[in-house]
């Protein structure tokens, strides 16, 4: 097959991919909607299967059987844990607009620029062999296909005649076209993702086609293939059975691959940065492992077929091409070549894109921004600078990859080179996983772990690879440096019996994780680190992170800064969205509070990474950590607010009480008003009734001279009686108003002997009792019974009570008793009768004015109804109480208690 044809086909294929990518980013049809599909997401993850899988896997299988599989079993196991592990990384990355693994680790440990730069440098150094591997694979595939021979040693030819150089140049241009054509927020490259997905389909189709051809074209079914292989012991032993052949190396490869699936920059890029919808992960969890299974299904059959059909000295890494060629099928060989190109191209494009973002955002930009003389922060448009930095990084990485390939990799199989890179990126895992699940991890711990792990990697894998290529001398491996056997790079501290990769993985990860944990435990977190840790570890619980920086800035400043990296339109649209979500008018917002500053920083971080964004925003933001004073002030304010709140509550309670009091008073006033009306109506009635009868009888006497003397006498008696009643009423009303006018004290204050008062009163009432034939029993048990008060008034009370008793006792057999005794400090005066008694419900109201018991229509009034009211007021004025109880033999007992000695002592 002619070289021109192969080159033309390969270039046409790459151009087709680019066309697809371009259309995805520029059209609005179904192509642009592809990025929102979970299938595209899953297929883009398959960038994991590089040339290593495509060519190296078969090579490995041909030499040592099934132990290429752990490279895919590890990711499968990790993806089973997807909802726990991967989703968490995804959420944190989205929330913080993480652009790379360096960014993530840097962001976790207090947005540390230094840590991010360290991770970036390690990633670049560690991945150069991996990129070299892709170049080597394409070059040797090209050589195999064009010459029909197998395994042209490219390193022996002049540079310009080297296919690998041209492959590197083409791939670099290709990567630049895909990965650094424009700056987009969030580092999304939808075109690249779709192209990678397309390449993944081609990889799978290509390898499956070869597998089916091997099974049914070259052999009579897979049974036939395995049967033929079983006849040759040296082939059958590699996959059939040999006890204990899979040991530590199988396990270490599983672990390394499981870590690499999220630590490799290109995997991080497609899995987390390019992810548009979190739910895509739900399908990818099992679809991606399924893809891995499918693409590996025919690897072993192809390898066995290669061993059966080809001479033993064939480069095993070229078997995929060599088998169809040997079977006389150049078309299938061409498909295989394109599959290999797809694998290499997708890996190189995504890896260099990811690395260029890392180097640009975490090393170059922070450094440039710190150089004051350049004054980058005030330049108007930085997108071009960013793009050129990235393109430069891509070219540099590819150049290093080419140089490594040309000088060092000739003696290694593809898988060994790839595993070297796996061990390097696995150094990020302890800090990353620790950072995600362990709140106590510190920046110093991460620094220590990553640095020491990387140094061990350099010593146990990188330096020996230089030694094997002749740059250092083989005695470095065989005897150790300066002949110190304990430091032999493949058997550090005398640990022998492991293959170099497992050995390096063991020591580097042990030292890495050990150093990370030990230093974290020994050290302390800064407040910033603590806040970040809480945010990352509690990522499953949504909520804003503790903000311990108070930062303010002007929105126009932030806007013009962001516009420089994003373009004005995108920056304004993003801010309008943000302002809208907070209910702020974007046109009038001038001062940016802490949250807005954070929003801008995240927006910028999506383009240039967290570390750079922090430096940039820091340049225009007034930022101050909350000092002790500040915190105290906040606490002070809080306690003041609490105090004010308490006072307010108190006031409101007082107000409530006052309101209740007012309501009570109001009710009482209304009651008094009603009583006054009643009083006036009653007085009116009480005064008019006797007056009316006096007038009526007087008129009769005047107008009827013919009346008999008896009648005249009778009428005059009525007039006199009514006049007396009127006089009594007026007297009592005057009494009452006098008593009420004197307030709460008796008018006279002098010593009074109650016993004498009683005797005086009973003497005055003697005739009344006798006239009504009511007996009166007097028992004075306390004598003298002195109180301070008004003698005449007290006499009035006793007479009132006695008169009352006479009135209600049945004439003839009535019995009343007056009793005076001492109860404690007080004197008790009681008047009992054997009348009908008073109902409990009426015992309060009889003390009101004009209250007379009985039916006012039928019963003849027996008094004016002021006696008890007057008595009540007099007793109250003397500081005593008056109430009614049931008498023992029926009837009522009026009881009065007066504070005898207390009043006397005043």
């Amino acid at each position: 097959m002619s070289q021109q044809l192969i080159v033309a086909v390969a270039l046409a294929y790459l151009l087709l991919l680019f066309l697809v990518a371009w259309m995805v980013e520029h059209s609005s049809g179904w192509l642009s909607r592809l990025t929102g599909s979970s299938v595209v997401y899953t297929l883009s993850l398959a960038v994991y299967c590089s040339s290593w899988t495509f060519n190296g896997g078969v090579g490995r299988a041909a030499q040592s059987g099934l132990d290429f599989l752990p490279i895919y079993l590890g990711p499968t196991l990790v993806f089973i844990l997807g909802p726990i592990l991967i989703r968490r990384i995804l959420r944190i990355s989205k929330a913080n607009r993480i652009t790379s693994i360096a960014d993530l680790i840097g962001a976790r440990f207090g947005k540390s620029g230094g840590l991010a730069a360290l991770v970036t440098v390690i990633a670049v150094v560690g991945l150069i062999p991996y990129i070299a591997l892709q170049l080597k694979s394409i070059a040797s595939g090209f050589a195999a296909l064009s010459a029909g021979g197998f395994g042209g040693a490219s390193a022996t030819r002049p540079v310009l005649m080297d296919e690998a150089l041209w492959a590197a140049v083409v791939l670099t241009v290709f990567a630049m076209l895909f990965g650094s054509r424009s700056i987009r927020p969030g580092e999304h490259h939808p075109g690249m993702v779709v192209a990678v997905a397309l390449e993944s389909i081609l990889k799978l189709v290509s390898l499956t086609a070869i597998g089916l051809f091997v099974g049914y074209g070259a052999f009579h079914g897979f049974g036939d293939l395995f049967t033929q292989a079983a006849a040759i012991p040296e082939i059958s032993t590699i996959y059939e059975y040999s006890p204990h052949r899979y040991g530590y190396s199988w396990i270490s490869m599983t672990v390394l691959a499981g870590l690499a699936i999220f630590c490799l920059p290109r995997q991080f890029q497609v899995m987390f940065v390019e992810n548009v919808v979190e739910q895509h992960l739900d399908k990818a969890r099992w679809q991606f492992p399924l893809y891995l299974l499918a693409i590996n299904l025919f690897v072993l059959p192809i390898a066995i077929a290669g061993r059966l059909m080809l001479p033993a000295d064939t480069d095993p890494d070229n078997l995929v091409l060599a088998v169809p060629l040997a079977a006389g099928q150049p078309l299938i060989a061409l498909i295989a070549f394109l599959g290999g190109v797809s694998a290499a191209a997708s890996m190189v494009v995504v890896e260099t894109t990811a690395l260029s973002i890392m180097v640009c955002n975490d090393v170059v930009m922070p450094a440039l921004l710190r150089v004051k003389s350049l004054d980058l922060a005030s330049r108007s448009d930085l997108t071009r600078l960013l793009l050129w930095v990235r393109r430069g990084v891509m070219a540099a990485v590819m150049a290093l990859g080419y140089l490594y390939m040309r000088h060092d990799s000739a003696q290694f199989a593809l898988v060994s080179i790839g595993l070297m890179s796996f061990v390097a990126v696995a150094q990020f895992a302890p800090a990353m996983l620790g950072g995600l699940f362990w709140g106590g991890a510190t920046k110093a711990g991460a620094f220590t772990g990553i640095t020491s792990g990387f140094l061990i990697w350099c010593y146990t894998l990188l330096l020996p690879s230089f030694a094997r290529s002749g740059a250092l001398g083989m005695e470095f491996i065989a005897d150790g440096p300066f002949g110190i056997a304990l430091l032999k790079p493949y058997a550090l501290f005398g640990f022998e019996g492991l293959d170099p990769v497992t050995h390096a993985a063991f020591w580097s990860l042990l030292v890495n994780a050990g150093g990370f944990i030990a230093v974290s435990l020994a050290g302390r977190q800064t407040p910033v680190e603590h806040a970040r840790a809480a945010m990352f570890v509690d990522a499953d619980h949504p909520g804003d992170a503790a903000q311990i920086w108070r930062r303010t800035a002007l929105v126009p400043d932030l806007m013009s800064l962001t516009a420089r990296f994003l373009g004005r339109e995108r920056a304004e649209a993003a801010f309008a969205d943000w302002a809208g979500s907070r209910g702020v008018d974007p046109a009038t917002a001038v001062t940016a509070d802490t949250e807005t500053v954070l929003f801008y920083e995240r927006l910028l971080a999506g383009v240039i990474g967290a570390a750079s964004a922090r430096v940039l925003v820091g340049a225009i933001v007034e930022e101050e950590p909350l000092g002790v004073d500040e915190v105290m002030r906040i606490l002070d304010e809080t306690s003041r607010i609490i105090e004010a709140n308490r006072q307010l509550e108190e006031k409101s309670r007082a107000l409530e009480a006052a309101t209740a009091e007012l309501t009570g008073v109001n009710a009482r006033l209304q009651e008094l008003d009603r009583l006054k009306d009643d009083f006036i109506a009653t007085v009116n009635h009480e005064l008019r009734t006797p007056l009316a009868s006096i007038r009526a009888f007087s008129e009769i006497l005047r107008d009827h001279p013919e009346l008999s003397d008896d009648e005249r006498l009778e009428f005059l008696r009525v007039v006199v009686a009514e006049s007396e009643r009127l006089t009594r009423l007026i007297n009592q009303l005057l009494d009452l108003s006098k008593i009420e006018a004197s307030g709460s004290f008796p008018a006279e204050r002098q010593p009074v002997d109650l016993a004498a008062v009683i005797r005086e009163s009973t003497a005055a009432m003697q005739q009344v009792f006798a006239g009504s034939q009511v007996g009166l029993k007097l028992s004075i048990e306390a004598e003298p019974a002195e109180i301070v008060g008004d003698h005449d008034r007290l006499v009035q009370v006793v007479i009132n009570l006695l008169g009352n008793a006479v009135k209600f006792s049945p004439p003839g057999r009535g019995e009343a008793e007056l009793r005076l005794r001492r109860v404690g400090d007080e004197l008790e005066l009681s008047v009992a009768d054997n009348g009908p008694g008073i109902r409990a419900a009426d015992r309060e109201i009889v003390f009101e004015r004009f209250r007379q018991l009985g039916d006012p229509m039928t019963d003849k009034p027996q008094g004016v109804g002021l006696g008890l009211a007057i008595s009540h007021r007099i007793v109250t004025q003397h500081g005593g109480r008056i109430w009614i109880e049931d008498a023992i033999g029926g009837g009522a007992v009026f009881k009065i208690r007066l504070g005898g000695t207390r009043l006397a002592a005043e």
Binding site: L66, T76, I80, P83, Y241, D282, P289, L293, L297
Partner: protein
């Protein structure tokens, strides 16, 4: 909440099972051929396939709210 933690436990269980079955020493117990096919090849791909089926069966319905509380930012 209960359902989610149950699912989490099941996933961890499946992960543990996978680690056990796909690594030595269990792996080294398988050898020879089955119907002319290498039984290790059948075993590895069989277990692998079952693990994928298990992962798919455990389902991706656990859709929790997004981390920023669903707040609309200009992403």
């Amino acid at each position: 909440m209960l359902r989610r933690s149950r699912r989490r436990d099941r996933l961890l269980g499946l992960f543990g099972l996978g680690v056990l079955l796909l690594d030595p020493p269990i792996l080294n117990l398988v050898g020879g051929t089955l119907f002319g096919w290498p039984s290790l090849y059948l075993y590895l791909f069989g277990v692998w396939g079952l693990l994928i089926a298990g992962a798919a069966w455990l389902g991706g319905r656990g859709t929790a709210p997004p981390i920023d509380g669903g707040r609309k930012t200009g992403r």
